[in-house]
């Protein structure tokens, strides 16, 4: 183990080069539905137990499945209403299990990125060939099912190895959602090629808010609006990124939909908001911001 994987340089949130998003927007806004499959009887990883109870943990297993059977369709209807295309953090095996969900999202021109094969398989302790196998499986399976070459990665259940970022760059991923050090994208230091960190969130994420902060639905709606207000204000100086990560098994219950809908309405009706997918934000950043930001980081490092 190391004290720091040295994945990015320190870069104070002050006097950075100004990022202006398309159309002069101050905030690039994206929504990341995690569309996940949790296995009822997964093999056991040496570092983490997938279910709190002995298998089959039928109550929690069926709680997760609620997202696919029920919650997803409510969430998608609200996103349609506000013209928000999802950037999907996908358990890749769901391509096989639930192609109806994949088709509904592909028909809407939503983006797919990989969240591993299953959310009950962790990367901890994988050797290089094993980690390459889940990346290649992800790239090939999504390509075959949807025609999309995936550009992003959120490690399955946020489990990593020391080499994850280098491998992502080698496979020409554009962005990782695994790093939470900033509200703007930033170059990730990789052996070869380029990779950026894409602001995702472990704060305004429905699972964190509902299951860790134990918030009420209305408070969640208010938290989303408050976060947006702050990033919108700061975005005047340099464009920020706001992501709402979702899980249909959490946000998709009837008593939680209204607050989410109100928050989406609040954000999407403001001027100066670029509603985008993660790939669109990454592509724009590489074209217009990467070099300037990389130079600024390098200059400050020397100072």
């Amino acid at each position: 183990m190391k004290p720091d994987l040295n994945l990015y340089d320190y870069w104070p949130y002050e006097n950075r080069p100004k990022i202006t998003w398309p159309g002069g927007a101050r905030v690039a806004f994206w929504v990341a539905p995690n569309i996940e499959f949790y296995e009822i009887n997964p093999p056991i990883n040496p570092k983490r137990t997938p279910w709190p109870r002995p298998h089959p943990d039928v109550n929690l297993y069926s709680n997760r499945d609620y997202g696919n059977r029920v919650g997803h369709w409510r969430m998608m209807e609200v996103m349609d209403k506000y013209d928000v295309r999802g950037s999907i953090s996908l358990s890749v095996a769901l391509l096989d299990h639930h192609p109806e969900i994949i088709k509904a999202c592909a028909d809407r021109n939503w983006e797919f990125f990989s969240h591993g094969i299953y959310n009950t398989r962790y990367s901890y302790d994988m050797d290089e060939a094993q980690e390459r196998a889940i990346m290649e499986d992800s790239i090939n399976s999504v390509k075959k099912a949807t025609g999309q070459r995936i550009a992003g990665w959120l490690a399955p259940a946020l489990t990593h190895t020391e080499r994850t970022m280098d491998l992502l760059a080698e496979y020409e991923f554009l962005y990782t959602c695994d790093l939470f050090q900033d509200d703007q994208p930033q170059p990730v230091k990789v052996n070869k090629g380029r990779l950026i960190s894409m602001p995702y969130s472990l704060e305004i994420n429905d699972i964190i808010v509902y299951n860790s902060y134990l918030a009420t639905p209305r408070r969640y709606g208010q938290m989303i609006k408050d976060q947006f207000d702050q990033l919108y204000e700061e975005g005047k100086d340099s464009g920020t990124v706001m992501c709402i990560p979702l899980h249909a098994y959490a946000v998709g219950h009837p008593h939680r939909m209204a607050a989410f809908e109100e928050a989406l309405d609040y954000i999407t009706t403001k001027p100066g908001v670029w509603v985008a997918t993660a790939r669109e934000i990454a592509e724009y950043y590489y074209k217009n911001c990467y070099d300037t930001c990389a130079a600024d980081i390098a200059a400050r490092k020397g100072a």
């Binding site: 296995e39 109870r53 089959p56 109550n59 069926s62 029920v70 369709w73 299990h97 299953y118 050797d127």
Partner: protein, 308 residues
């Protein structure tokens, strides 16, 4: 470092589910359900009557609400027992005020210890759902088969004998099942279970080893006093608000997609407390003023559903 070869293999990666207990199905693709008398939302209230033994085993896990301190944990034992003595009466008074019939999920040990409660349930015309033997006798993967069969038999035999009710519903203590629970309860004449929360509507389950079909009823783990007040630590006002929001969401959806079920789960030692009970009254008063509400128990809802 490396992980075992089987960790990289996915034998159940296939169309549909990775188990054979139930089929993959999208709620919004199913045919619309019509409730009796043009109702749009069925209101299903379930109250749990539980016995937590002082010598509750810690393995494989403790049922929520179980003993906490070293033996003898009189503090939690009596707090839970309060529900069976005082809390349930307060809940029943509120239900009576609004003329609401309900389902009662009950450990057979509660029926044995407190026959009064069984008689009161029968007098009210409420349905009993079997909730195993007690909260210390769990059903879980890897348990001894003969022991599980004995627990199912004890629970159902006792409850049927003491209540005279046929007992068609089952809720496992802590909503925990083994790989065989569905087989044993189906063989014992159970028609529906409350442990699977994958849906807002009933869905069909297949018991293993050819034991046949039964139903999963959408007993709510979300709209429950335990989840919202105890786990999430929300206030009583916020509990009422979420019940209302649940109804509003379901009612709106029912216009386009057909009948829905509002499942409200209550626990006497939680909701039956002096400072909380009035909020149940507030919630039910509001619900009963809403249009197109059908109050029913689990069996009645399932029967209406199966007739579609």
């Amino acid at each position: 470092m490396t992980v075992a070869k089987e960790y990289m293999e996915y034998p159940m990666r296939r169309y549909g589910m990775d188990q054979d207990f139930y089929e993959w199905s999208i709620l919004f693709n199913r045919k619309k359900v019509q409730w009796p008398n043009g109702a749009r939302v069925a209101l299903w209230i379930t109250t749990d009557l539980e016995f937590f033994p002082l010598d509750q085993p810690a393995k494989p896990f403790k049922a929520p609400g179980g003993m906490v301190t070293s033996y003898p944990d009189l503090r939690h034992f009596t707090t839970r027992d309060y529900g069976n003595r005082v809390g349930i009466q307060r809940i029943w008074r509120v239900l009576d005020k609004h003329r609401i019939k309900s389902s009662v999920a009950m450990n057979s040990m509660v029926a044995e210890r407190y026959p009064y409660l069984v008689n009161a349930i029968n007098a009210r015309g409420d349905e009993i759902i079997a909730m195993g033997v007690d909260q210390g006798k769990l059903h879980y993967g890897g348990m001894d088969d003969a022991l599980e069969l004995a627990q199912v038999t004890e629970s159902l035999t006792t409850l049927r004998k003491l209540s005279g009710q046929p007992i068609k519903g089952w809720m496992s203590p802590a909503k925990s099942e083994s790989w065989n629970t569905l087989k044993y309860v189906k063989n014992a004449g159970i028609e529906y279970v409350c442990d699977w929360v994958a849906d807002d509507m009933p869905f069909e389950l297949t018991a293993p080893d050819g034991a046949g079909k039964l139903w999963a009823m959408p007993h709510s783990s979300e709209i429950s006093d335990r989840k919202i007040i105890i786990d999430n630590k929300h206030s009583e006002d916020e509990f009422v608000e979420q019940i209302q929001d649940q109804f509003t969401g379901l009612y709106k959806e029912s216009e386009k997609h057909g009948g829905r079920i509002l499942s409200l789960s209550l626990t006497p030692y939680i909701m039956g407390l002096h400072y909380r009970i009035k909020y149940l009254d507030i919630a039910l008063r509001w619900l009963m003023k809403q249009p197109h509400v059908w109050v029913a128990n689990g069996t009645q809802i399932l029967d209406a559903f199966k007739k579609q």
